[in-house]
């Protein structure tokens, strides 16, 4: 067994499951938003505001945001492991990979915090 401490859940099985489930959440959310935009006859800020004022919509949006962030982490972790590894970069790989992962983690955390502020601040 190959262990790794930077993957989302430390088991490939759970990461894989999280990626699949989060993909479904994101797909449903996208279909809903596009459908809402298409089937709302006269689109206005008031209607948009009213939609996001409802608690279920805020929870649904937060769920989509958390899904996006976890999905992105697993994907980016894989990409970093493929292209920023010892075979590609030699000795400096660990430093470059760790810094890239840290930067990615910070950006994703900012998305969560900022998203919550937007959703509950509307």
């Amino acid at each position: 067994m190959v262990t790794n401490i930077t993957s989302l859940s430390r088991t490939g099985l759970r990461d894989w499951l999280v990626q699949r489930v989060s993909a479904v959440v994101l797909a449903v959310y996208t279909v809903f938003i596009v459908g809402w935009l298409l089937y709302t006859e006269t689109l206005s800020f008031e209607l948009w505001h009213a939609l996001f004022e409802q608690t279920w919509m805020r929870i649904f949006s937060l769920m989509a945001l958390v899904s996006l962030v976890s999905h992105a982490w697993i994907g980016m972790w894989t990409i970093f492991g493929d292209y920023l590894n010892e075979r590609a970069l030699g000795k400096k790989a660990l430093t470059v990979r760790f810094l890239s992962q840290a930067l990615c983690g910070i950006v994703l955390f900012v998305y969560i915090a900022w998203g919550v502020q937007i959703l509950w601040g509307l």
Binding site: M1, V2, R10, T11, G12, L13, R14, D15, D82
Partner: protein, 236 residues
Amino acid sequence: MSLQVSVYRYNPEQDSVPHMQDFTVEVPEGKDLMVLDVLALIKEQDDSFVYRRSCREGVCGSDGMNIGGTNGLACITPLSEAVRKEKLVLRPLPGLPVIRDLVVDMSLFYKQYEKVRPYLINDTPPPATERLQSPEERAKLDGLYECVLCACCSTACPSFWWNPDKFVGPAGLLQSYRFLADSRDTATEERLSDLEDPFSVFRCRGIMNCVDVCPKGLNPTQAIGHIRKMLLEKGS
């Protein structure tokens, strides 16, 4: 008929970098030779040219190479499929260290194969004659046991190129499932536990290059899907 052949050449004792060398080979008209036959004709012209071969009928898996950009076995790939733009281009299997010309170092490939413990594990006392299987149980091994370990699939897989030390690769995983699916094997739990990590199985992103190139027409992606399903059933 003259055939233009471009071959990857590298002799670490003489060359600082690999290069492509062009040969003109005379092939008989009206006969669809195999790529391996052309290799023999090149060898007649230049006996320093090196490649692996053995059975010459797609059973031993020795002559896996990159033929016109696609991995395959030279002995069962006809020129009619291999020649593109009137030229035959031959390179070693990608992603593995080249020992010389078309011969690659397959140590990492075998290391991953060894990791899946490709043999029957059964600690129960052996019966007097043999461990029997029903025809249905035996049928589950079809499409799995036929692998000749030519490494065409694993060396066509980007996940294996980038992490050959951690990702088992399609060939190893096909064999892993061959023993997971075997009714006579009793080590299913341990085998699955060894595969749960983020690399061994889950580095597969399902691009199916392995299925595309397998000279035996096998489907490692499907076997990997079965392993994932078994892991899911065990873990949830």
